[in-house]
Symmetry: C2
Subunit: 593 residues, 2 copies
Amino acid sequence: MPVYSAPTKDMSFILHDVLNVNNEDIAGYSDLEPDFVSAILNESAKIAENVLAPLNAVGDKEGCRLENGVVRTPTGFKNAFEQMKEGGWTGLDCDPDYGGQGMPFILANAVTEMFSSANMAFSMYQGLTHGAYSAIHAHGSAAQKAQYLPKMVSCEWTGTMNLTEPHCGTDLGLMRTKAIPQEGGSYKITGQKIFISAGEHDLAENIIHLVLAKIEGAPAGIKGVSLFIVPKFMVNDDGSLGQRNSLSVGKIEEKMGIHGNSTCVMNYDEATGFLVGDEHKGMRAMFTMMNEARLGVGVQGYAQAEVAYQNALDYAKDRLQGRDITGTKNPDGPADPLIVHPDVRRNLLDQKSFVEGARAFSLWGAYLIDRAHRNKDKDADGLVSLLTPVIKGFLTDKGFDLCIQAQQIYGGHGYIEEWGMSQFARDARIAMIYEGANGVQALDLVGRKLAQDGGKYVLAFFGLVKSFVSETKGQNEAFDRGFLDPLKKASKDLQGAATYFMQNGMKNPNHALAGSYDFMHLFGHVCLGLVWSKMAKAAHDALENGTDDAAFYETKLETGRYYMARHLPATGMHLARIETGADPVMTLKAANF
Amino acid sequence: MPVYSAPTKDMSFILHDVLNVNNEDIAGYSDLEPDFVSAILNESAKIAENVLAPLNAVGDKEGCRLENGVVRTPTGFKNAFEQMKEGGWTGLDCDPDYGGQGMPFILANAVTEMFSSANMAFSMYQGLTHGAYSAIHAHGSAAQKAQYLPKMVSCEWTGTMNLTEPHCGTDLGLMRTKAIPQEGGSYKITGQKIFISAGEHDLAENIIHLVLAKIEGAPAGIKGVSLFIVPKFMVNDDGSLGQRNSLSVGKIEEKMGIHGNSTCVMNYDEATGFLVGDEHKGMRAMFTMMNEARLGVGVQGYAQAEVAYQNALDYAKDRLQGRDITGTKNPDGPADPLIVHPDVRRNLLDQKSFVEGARAFSLWGAYLIDRAHRNKDKDADGLVSLLTPVIKGFLTDKGFDLCIQAQQIYGGHGYIEEWGMSQFARDARIAMIYEGANGVQALDLVGRKLAQDGGKYVLAFFGLVKSFVSETKGQNEAFDRGFLDPLKKASKDLQGAATYFMQNGMKNPNHALAGSYDFMHLFGHVCLGLVWSKMAKAAHDALENGTDDAAFYETKLETGRYYMARHLPATGMHLARIETGADPVMTLKAANF
C-alpha cells in the first residue's frame, strides 16, 4: 500500500522563509501568520493522509460505473466527500458572501497539492466545482450567483465544464451544440459533449453543468460561442430542486487513469439552460475557469511526482540489493539498500529537486494571482498570465516523467499494479492533456503571451532574475558558483531564444512556433532555477543566522545545487533546438511522412 | 481500431542500401539477396498485420486468467500461435539440426520488430522460448539438446526464464531457490520465482522452465548459482510426455500493460530439474539468454514507438483542428489537419527520426552478432557487447517517451483506452524495466563494458565514426553541414565524457557511476547520429545515381537532418551533467532525502 505524508514543512518554508507572505502588502495576507498557516496545513494534511490517500487505489481498481443512467463512484468516496464538505475544505478561498472562507488563493493552492497527491481522481470532483464557481462568480448575474454559488461553495452541488465535442477539442470554433432562445429568457440546449470530468456521480444532490453552445444565428467560429448554466435538476425559486433537466450520460469513458473520476459523454436534448454573461462572449467567461484550471493542473503534475517520490524513496531505503562500490554500508544485512547506488540517487534527486522547485514555482504563481486579484495589480496579472502555460505545460510534463522515474526505482514491482506506482504514472498522464494539451500551452506561450503588451511581462521576468542576481552576488562564493552562475547562464539561453523568435518570427511565424515546445521547457527550467536560487538564499540566510533545524536547510541547499547542476544544463539543448528554426520541422511534405 | 503496416521498405533500405548485407563476408549472408529478403519480410508482414495486430487490443482488454491452476490466454491467441508455428516463424534463425531454418539473426531481428509492433504481449510467448532455446543450445548436453530443442524450435513446447525472487531482482546472489541432488543425476528444485513471463498458458503442450537455483553447499552469492531445466511435464525417453512435475502457478500479476502475456509467480515444490552445463556456472549460461533478450527488448522499445507513430500520423492527417498560421491548407474543410501545425510536426518528426534511426542501430547490432557468431569475430563480439546496454537502455527509454508523444497527438482521445494509444505506452513501459532495468544497463555499460580489454571496443567505435567522417567529408557541403558536423560534435561530447570517467573514475568510481545514465543516452545519440549519417549517405548516393523513388530517399535525408538538428543537441546536456561528477549525487545523506 503506497504511503503519503503531506509536505507541510516544505510548504511553510516556501510561504514564510521564501515568500514571506504575512509581510506582503496583499489584502488578506497579513492573516497568514506561521501559526495560522500551520494549523490550516496540518488539518488539511490529516484529511489528505487519513481520508483521501487510503481511497486512491480503491478508486483506481473499482472505477466509476454507469448503471441505468446513474453513476456510482468507488466505495468510500461518498463518505470522504462528506468529510471534505464538513471540514469546509470545499470553499477555502471562495467568497464569504456565498459561504466561502475568503482565504488567499495561495493557501488553497497548497491544500490542492495535498488533495491531488493523496487522491487526484477524487479531488477533481471538488476542483471542477471550484472552476464552475469561479466562472459564475466572475460572469454570472447577481440572481445566478445567489441561486447557485452557496450550494457550490459547500459542494452540496458540484459543477462541470462542458467544452469538448467529438469533432472539436482545441478548436472550439467548430462547436455544434445549439442554444435556442425560449420565452422567459431561458434557452434549449442540444448537443453532445465529451470528456466531461465529474459529469455524473452520486456525491451531490445536483450538478451544475457549464456548457458552451452557439445561439441560433450566432457569428461563425469562436466568436459565436456562449456560456450556459444547465443544471441537472432545475432549481426552484426557494432553492429547492425541481424537475430533472433533459440531459443524460451517454457513457463513461474507460481511461488510462483517474478511474475514480467519472469522465462522461453528456447528451443535452433540449435541456433548459441559462445564459451566463453576454451572448457570444462565452469564451471570455470560459477562460476565467480555464486559467484557474490550468494552474490547478500544473499542481496535479508535481503533486503526483511528490507522492511517487515519497514511495520511491521508501523503497530505495528498504530494498536491499547489491553493495556500495566504495564500501559496504549495511554489513549486517545480505546487501545494501538501493539508495547507496549512485544512479538510484541520481534518479531520486531528479525527483526531489524537481518537486520542491515546482512547488515553489506554483506557490509563487498563486502569490501573483492573489496580487493580481486582491490588489488589482495589472503587472502581476500580466506576469502570471505569461507564466500560466509554463506552470501547466512544464510542470505536468516533468511531473509525469518523474513519476515514470519513481516507478523505475521499483524495478519489476513498479510495473505491478498492487504496488501503486503505475497508478501515479497513469493518473499523472492526463495532466499533460486536459485543460489544453501541452502543445497548445506552448502555442499560447509563444504565440500570444510572449509578445503581450509589447513583451512587457517577459522583460519583467528577466528583470526579476537580474535584480535577484545583482542583490545577492558577491556575498558568498559557493552560492554564486552553485546558483547564480548557472541561473545567469540559463537566463541568457532564454533571452537568446526570445531574441531568435523576435528576429525570425516576424518574417515567418513558424520559426517561432517550431520552437515553442522547447521554449516552454526552457522557460520552465529558468523559473525553477530562479525559485531554487531564492530558496537557497533563504536556506543560506537561515544557516547564517542560526537555526535549530540545520539539517533541513542544508538539505535544501544540497537539493538546490543538484537542480542547478543536473537539470539546468537542459536550457542549452533547448536553445540549440530552437535556433535550428522552422526548416527541419516544416520542409517535409505531409504526404511524405 | 489502431492500424499497423509493417515497414518492410525501410527495413530493405537498411539491409541493402546501407548495410549491403548480401555482399558481406558473413556465413549465410550471401543468401540475403533483395528478392529473398523481400519475400521473407512480406510474408512475416502478413502475419503481423493480419493475424497478430487484430488481437493486440483483445489481449489488453481480456488479459490472462488463472482458473484452477490453468491459465487461459485471450481469445484468438491459440489460433494465432498455431499460425505462427505453421508458418515456421518460431525457428527462423534456429539451428537446422533441430528443425530451425538457420537464417541469419539480422533477418530474425527484422521479423521480431514486426511481431512486437503488432502484438508485443503475444510475441513474448515465442520470444521467451527462443531465449531458453539459446541457453540450452549453448550450454546443454547433446542429450538435452536432442530431447528439448526440436519441440522448442517448433514452439510445440515453449520456454521461460526463472531468475527473480521476491527479495532479489538485480542482485541474484541473494537467491534462495534450492537444488538438492538426487540419485540418477537429477535435482529436486524448491523455491519461488516471480515475474515469470509466459510462465503458464494454454498455447503449448509443455513448458520448459529454465530455473536458476543454488545446489546445496554451493559457494555463497552469485558464484553458487546453477541453471536447471525444469519441465512442466516430464519428458519420456521416446519424447512423449510423462507425469506432471511438481510446480505450479501461485498467481498471475496484474500489470500496467502486456496483459496478453501471463506474468506468473511460479512455485517449485521439489520439482525435478536437470542441470544445464556445469555446477555453479548458471550465471554464464543465463547471460547467453540475457544478452539476446536485451537486444530483443531494445527492439520492443522502438517497435512500440513505430506502431504508435503510425497511428499518430494517421490521426494528424485526418483530424481537422485549427488553421495553418501561414495560410489555410484545407479551404473546403472546416479546419486544417493537425499536421499543418509546427508543434505537431515537431512531435511527429521526433518520433519518425528516432524510430528509423533506432531500427538501423538495432539491425547494425544484429549484423555484429552474426559476424561475432558466424565468423567467430572477437572484435565484432566485443563491440556488440559494448553496444548491447545502449541498445536496450536507450532504445527502450526513448521508445517509451515517443509512445507518450504519439499519445499526445490524440489529445483527450489518447487517454481513452479504446483508441489504443494508451496500450502502446503501457506495453512499452515494461521494456525499460525487464531484462535488467535501464539503470543496470547504464551500470553494465560504464562499470564493465567501457573499460573491457583496455577500452578497446569504445576506441573501435570512435574509429568507426572517424573513418566514416574522413571517407565522406568534402564531397557535398550540405551533407557535411547537416550530418558530419553534428556527428563530429556529438562524438566529441562522448569522448569528453569517456575522458572524464577515465580521469576521475580511478580515484572515485562514483564520479563515473553518477554519470552512467547520462552516458548511456549520450552514447545512444551518437550511435543514432552515426547510423543516420550512413543512411543519409546511402540516400544521397541513390539520388545522385538516379532512382525511381526520389521521394523515399529525399524523405530519408530530411528525416535524418531532423535527427541531427533536433535530437543530437542532447549530447551537450548529457556531457554537462556528467562533468558535474559525483558530488551533486553523493553528498546528501540518505537520512536527509
